[in-house]
C-alpha cells in the first residue's frame, strides 16, 4: 500500500481481496469530515418517486432541496411531464420561526388547482423535521378538500442514509397500492420495481415482457403513473431491480397481498437473460412463455453478438474501477465487464450491505479492492495503484477520472443512452470502447504511477513523455 493516508476509522470499510481476512463494515453513517460521495434521506426518496410523471412533487423546505433536484435525472415519460417541474414552498426565516404549515397548505391547494395531478407527494426536508410542522395533518386536510391522495414522504435529510429515503418513498407508494381495480389483469402479470426509465430503459424491458406474453401492470417508478401503482397489487409477481431502492415495497406487498418477488438485474447479457428466464420460470404452468423467452434471448443476443465480439477484441485486458450507488449494480457491471474481457480492479458502492459485500468478494479476483462509501482520495489512490483504464461511476466521479486521464462511463442517472437490456449492453460496450480507446488520453501528461501523499496532496511536476500511455501497450 502506498502512503496516501486512509482514515483509521475507514479501514474497516476497505478490503483488498487475498490480503486480509474479510471483515467489511458497511451501512455505517459516513464519518464527519470525510469527503464522502454519498447523499441524504431526501435524495433517496426523491430519486425513487420522481419518475411518477402525473403526480405532483412538492418539496417542503428552503429552496435548495428543490433547486438541486430539478430535472437532473433523465427519467423519461411517454406522457405527462409534471415531474420535470420544480415545486417548493421556499421556506423563509419567518416560516422557520412561526412554522410552515400554512404555507404548505396554500402551496398545495394552489398547485392542485392549477395542475390537477393524480396524486401529490410532499417531501419533508431537514428543517421540517426540526421546526416540527405537522405535514401529515396538512396532507390529510388537503386530501379531503381536493379529493386526491396527498402523501407525505418522511424524508428529513438527517434521519438516516439514502437507504432510509428509499424506505420512506416505498412507504408513501404503498399507500397507493391496493386502491385501484384489478379487473382484467392477466394471471401472467408482473410489476417492474426499481426501474426508473433512465434513457428509456423501462421501455426496452417492458417490450421483452410483452413479447413473452407477460403483462406489466405497473412500472415503479420509471414512466410511472399513479393509477398503475394503485392497481399494482393485481400483479402475480414483483420483479425487483436495484437492490437498495424498492425491496422495501416488494416486502410490504408480499406481506399484505401475498405477492412474491424476485430480484433481477437488466444489465449485461447474463443477468438480463436470467431476469427473463426467472420470470418465465415463475409462470411454468404456461410453457409457451418459456419457449417464447428462449426465442427472444436467442434472437436478441444473435442480433448484437457480432458487434460485441469486435468490441471485446478491442477492450480485452483493460482494467476497470467501479464505484456506484447500489452494490447490486456493481455485480452486474463486473459480469458485463468480464464478458468484455476486462479486469475489475476496484469495486465499491455507497449503500451496499454485508451480504452484498460478501457476494462482491466472492465474485472478484485476488487483489481487487472493495470499498464502502469511498472518498475521492481513496478512489484516486486505487485508480493509480491499480492502473485503471476506465472508471464507472456517477456525476462527482467523472471529472476525477478525466483529470487523471482515464476513460469514464456514467452508470448513474446522467447516462444518456439506455444501458439496460440487450441493446443496452451493446450501448454499454460501445461507450466503454469509445472512452477507453479514445485518442484524447494521449494528450494527457504522464500519469504518475508511483505516488506518495505529499505529491498527491500538494505538488505536481509533469514528467513529459516518460510514461505516456498509449492504447497499444
Amino acid at each position: 500500500m502506498t502512503a496516501i493516508p486512509i482514515l483509521k476509522e475507514r479501514e474497516s470499510q476497505i478490503y483488498q481481496k487475498g490480503t486480509q481476512p474479510f471483515q467489511m463494515k458497511c451501512g455505517k453513517h459516513s464519518l464527519a469530515g470525510s469527503v464522502s460521495q454519498r447523499a441524504c434521506v431526501f435524495c433517496g426518496s426523491r430519486v425513487v418517486l420522481y419518475p411518477i410523471a402525473d403526480a405532483l412533487h412538492l418539496i417542503h423546505g428552503p429552496i435548495g432541496c428543490a433547486a438541486y433536484t430539478w430535472d437532473i435525472r433523465g427519467a423519461l415519460s411517454s406522457g405527462p411531464e409534471l415531474h420535470r417541474l420544480s415545486f417548493s414552498t421556499d421556506l423563509q426565516e419567518k416560516d422557520v420561526i412561526f412554522g410552515g404549515e400554512k404555507k404548505l397548505y396554500h402551496a398545495l391547494s394552489e398547485l392542485i388547482d392549477i395542475h390537477q395531478p393524480k396524486a401529490a407527494f410532499i417531501y419533508s426536508t431537514c428543517i421540517v423535521g426540526i421546526i416540527g410542522d405537522d405535514v401529515e395533518a396538512v396532507c390529510k386536510k388537503v386530501s379531503k378538500e381536493k379529493g386526491i391522495d396527498v402523501l407525505p414522504v418522511h424524508s428529513e435529510g438527517f434521519k438516516g442514509t439514502k437507504k432510509d429515503g428509499y424506505k420512506a418513498a416505498c412507504d408513501a407508494l404503498f399507500k397507493l397500492v391496493g386502491q385501484g381495480s384489478t379487473e382484467g389483469i392477466s394471471p401472467y402479470s408482473i410489476n417492474i420495481l426499481g426501474e426508473f426509465n433512465i434513457g428509456g430503459e423501462a421501455w426496452i424491458i417492458k417490450d421483452y415482457y410483452r413479447r413473452m406474453g407477460v403483462e406489466v401492470v405497473s412500472t415503479m417508478t420509471g414512466d410511472g403513473r399513479v393509477d398503475d401503482v394503485r392497481r399494482s397489487h393485481g400483479a402475480v409477481l414483483n420483479v425487483v431491480q436495484c437492490s437498495g431502492a424498492m425491496t422495501f415495497l416488494a416486502e410490504m406487498m408480499k406481506e399484505k397481498y401475498g405477492i412474491p418477488y424476485i430480484r433481477v438485474s437488466y444489465f449485461g447479457l447474463e443477468d438480463m437473460s436470467k431476469a427473463l428466464y426467472d420470470v418465465a420460470a415463475h409462470f411454468s404452468d404456461k410453457p409457451e412463455i418459456m419457449e417464447k423467452t428462449k426465442e427472444i434471448v436467442r434472437e436478441e443476443i444473435s442480433h448484437i453478438y457480432p458487434e460485441l465480439q469486435k468490441i471485446k477484441a478491442a477492450v480485452q485486458g483493460k482494467k476497470a474501477a467501479i464505484y456506484v450507488g447500489g452494490a447490486f449494480k456493481a455485480f452486474s457491471l463486473i459480469k458485463a465487464l468480464r464478458y468484455l474481457g476486462m479486469d475489475v480492479v476496484l469495486a465499491g458502492s455507497q449503500t451496499g450491505n454485508d451480504t452484498d459485500y460478501e457476494t462482491l468478494r466472492d465474485m472478484c479476483d485476488d487483489g481487487t479492492v472493495i470499498v464502502d462509501d469511498a472518498n475521492p482520495l481513496e478512489l484516486s489512490k486505487y485508480i493509480i495503484e491499480k492502473k485503471a483504464d476506465l472508471f464507472i461511476g456517477g456525476v462527482k466521479e467523472r471529472p476525477i477520472a478525466y483529470k487523471m486521464g482515464i476513460g469514464f462511463c456514467d452508470h448513474n442517472h446522467e447516462r444518456k443512452t439506455p444501458l439496460a437490456g440487450y441493446s443496452g449492453m451493446l450501448n454499454f460496450a460501445k461507450e466503454v470502447y469509445l472512452t477507453v480507446s479514445s485518442p484524447v488520453w494521449k494528450f494527457a501528461p504522464a500519469r504518475q504511477l508511483s505516488v506518495n501523499s505529499d505529491q498527491l496532496l500538494t505538488d505536481f511536476n509533469p514528467r513529459p513523455n516518460t510514461e505516456h500511455r498509449t492504447l497499444n501497450t
Partner: protein, 459 residues
C-alpha cells in the same frame, strides 16, 4: 413540449416557488471558499446538502469539487452538531491536510443553533487545529436570501477573519470580483495588470475550477487567494467591490475594520460597466489608462457599430442573479435593445428593483420585473407576449425550445455547454464575447427562418 404544464393565465401565487431562479446560501459559500488557496469547504449539516452542492458545481464546471460534511444524524440534530464538527475538523486536517477549512452552516445547523466560533475555539483548545492552519466560518441559513447571499457572507468572513492593517497603506488595491466565473476573475485581474496595478483579488476561483488536465487528481489546485494575501487586504490603498449584492458586505467590513476606503460599482459587464471599472481603478491608483485597453475598447465599439442594426428594438427576456442582471440590462439598453422581462429569484430588495427600473425607464412599453420571481412566472409572461431573445441559465433552454426563441446561455448553472469557465463576459473582451453570442443567436435564427429567396450571405 417540455413545459406544457405552464399556463399563460397568471394566477396569484401566495406560497409557492415553481422552477426557481435561485438556490440556497450554502452553495454560494462553498463556491467562494473554493477561491481560497488550499481551502477545504465544509458543510455543517446533513450529508445531502454538500452532495448536492458538489454535484451542482461539478456539473457547472466539469471539475472535481472538494468539500466535506458534518454528516448530521438524528442525534446531532437533537443534541447539537458540536461533536460532529469537532470530529470533522480533526479528520479533515489529518487526512486531507488543507491549509484552511471554511465552514458554512445550513438550515439544519442554523435552526438548532450551533455556535460555530465556540466550537472552533474548542477545537483549537483541544489541539485539533495544527499550527499555521485555520478554520473560518460563515452563517449561511438556507431560508434567508439565496446562493448570492451565501457567497457574500463567505467573502465578508474572509475579511472578518484575516484582514489586518499593518499601520501603513501599501500600494495594493483589493478587488472583490463578485459571484462571477473563474474566467471573469482572471479577466478582472488581467485588466488591472494591464494598468500596472498591484492587486489582491478575493475570492479567486481561477485556476481552481477551470484548471488544466494534468493526468493527476489534485485535491487543492494551484489557484485561489492565499491567506497571506487575505491578511494584506487590510493594508490596501483601496477596495473595488463589484456587484452590490455579492461584494458590498465584504468591502464595507474591510472599510470598518481596517479603514480601507471602498468603491462599490456594478459588475464590469458591457461598455459602460467596464469603463466604470477602469475609471475607478484609474482614480484610486492615479494612473493613466494604457493604450492596450483603449484599443480593446475601440474594438468592442467597432463590433457594436458594425452590427447595431441587428440589436435595434429587440425584445429581451432575462433571468439570473441580481448583480449580473443590473449590469447586463444596462448593456442591452445601451445597444438599443429592449429588456422587457427581468426575473431574479434572489430577494434583492426594493432599492435594487428601483435601480433596475431606472435603467429601463426609457424602454418603450411595459417592462415586467420580478424581484424575487421564478421561471414559471417568467415563462408565463413570454407566453402572453413573446420576446426576440432569451438570456439565462440552462433551465431557460426549455422555454427557448417550447416557444422557439433565440437563446444565450448565461448565469448559473450552465449544465449543458462549456466555455463559461474559460472565456469571460466581463471587460471589453468579455463584452465582445457577449456581443458575439447575442449576434449568433439572432442571426442564426434569421438564417433558419429565411426563405430560399431571402437567404442572405452577407450580414
Amino acid at each position: 413540449m417540455l413545459l406544457k404544464h405552464t399556463t399563460s393565465e397568471i394566477k396569484e401565487r401566495s406560497a409557492l416557488t415553481v422552477n426557481p431562479a435561485k438556490t440556497c446560501q450554502p452553495i454560494g459559500a462553498m463556491y467562494a471558499s473554493l477561491g481560497i488557496h488550499g481551502c477545504l469547504p465544509h458543510s455543517h449539516g446533513s450529508q445531502g446538502c454538500y452532495a448536492y452542492h458538489r454535484s451542482a458545481l461539478t456539473r457547472h464546471y466539469k471539475e472535481p469539487v472538494m468539500a466535506a460534511t458534518s454528516a448530521f444524524t438524528e442525534g446531532a440534530s437533537v443534541f447539537g452538531g458540536q461533536a460532529n464538527l469537532l470530529q470533522a475538523i480533526d479528520n479533515m486536517f489529518t487526512v486531507y491536510n488543507p491549509d484552511i477549512i471554511a465552514v458554512h452552516t445550513t438550515c439544519l445547523s442554523e435552526t438548532i443553533g450551533d455556535d460555530i466560533p465556540q466550537i472552533v475555539k474548542k477545537a483549537e483548545a483541544d489541539g485539533k487545529i495544527p499550527e499555521g492552519k485555520y478554520v473560518i466560518h460563515a452563517n449561511t441559513p438556507s431560508y434567508v436570501g439565496s446562493h448570492v447571499t451565501g457567497f457574500s457572507n463567505m467573502c465578508k468572513s474572509m475579511v472578518d477573519y484575516f484582514s489586518e492593517s499593518n499601520g501603513h497603506k501599501s500600494k495594493t488595491i483589493n478587488l472583490i470580483p463578485g459571484y462571477v466565473e473563474p474566467s471573469d476573475m482572471e479577466e478582472i485581474r488581467r485588466i488591472a495588470s494591464e494598468m500596472k496595478l498591484k492587486t489582491i483579488m478575493f475570492p479567486d476561483t481561477s485556476g481552481v475550477l477551470n484548471g488544466p488536465m494534468t493526468g493527476r487528481f489534485k485535491m487543492y489546485p494551484d489557484g485561489g487567494v492565499t491567506i497571506d494575501q487575505l491578511k494584506q487586504t487590510g493594508s490596501g490603498m483601496g477596495t473595488v467591490a463589484m456587484g452590490r449584492l455579492a461584494s458590498m458586505a465584504a468591502a464595507r467590513a474591510l472599510d470598518n475594520k481596517c479603514k480601507v476606503p471602498c468603491e462599490i460599482i456594478d459588475l464590469p459587464i458591457g461598455l459602460h460597466g467596464t469603463d466604470a471599472f477602469i475609471d475607478t481603478l484609474r482614480h484610486i491608483a492615479g494612473v493613466n489608462v494604457p493604450d492596450s485597453l483603449t484599443f480593446e475598447r475601440g474594438q468592442m465599439v467597432d463590433i457594436i457599430s458594425d452590427m447595431h442594426q441587428y440589436f435595434y428594438g429587440k425584445r429581451v427576456g432575462l433571468v439570473g442573479d441580481p448583480d449580473q442582471l443590473l449590469a447586463l440590462t444596462k448593456f442591452l439598453v445601451s445597444l438599443d435593445m429592449h429588456p422587457v422581462y427581468i426575473v431574479t429569484g434572489t430577494p434583492a430588495g426594493k432599492k435594487y428593483e428601483k435601480a433596475l427600473r431606472e435603467v429601463v425607464k426609457d424602454v418603450p412599453g411595459e417592462v415586467k420585473i420580478s424581484v424575487p420571481g421564478d421561471m414559471y412566472l417568467f415563462h408565463q409572461w413570454i407566453k402572453q407576449e413573446p420576446v426576440d431573445l432569451l438570456i439565462g441559465n440552462s433551465y431557460v433552454k426549455y422555454i427557448a425550445k417550447d416557444d422557439d426563441i433565440p437563446y444565450v446561455r448565461y448565469g448559473f448553472p450552465i449544465l449543458d455547454r462549456v466555455g463559461h469557465s474559460y472565456f469571460p463576459t466581463v471587460g471589453y473582451k468579455g463584452g465582445m464575447r457577449l456581443l458575439e453570442k447575442i449576434l449568433d443567436a439572432l442571426l442564426d435564427r434569421q438564417d433558419r427562418d429565411a426563405t430560399d429567396i431571402n437567404m442572405e450571405l452577407v450580414m
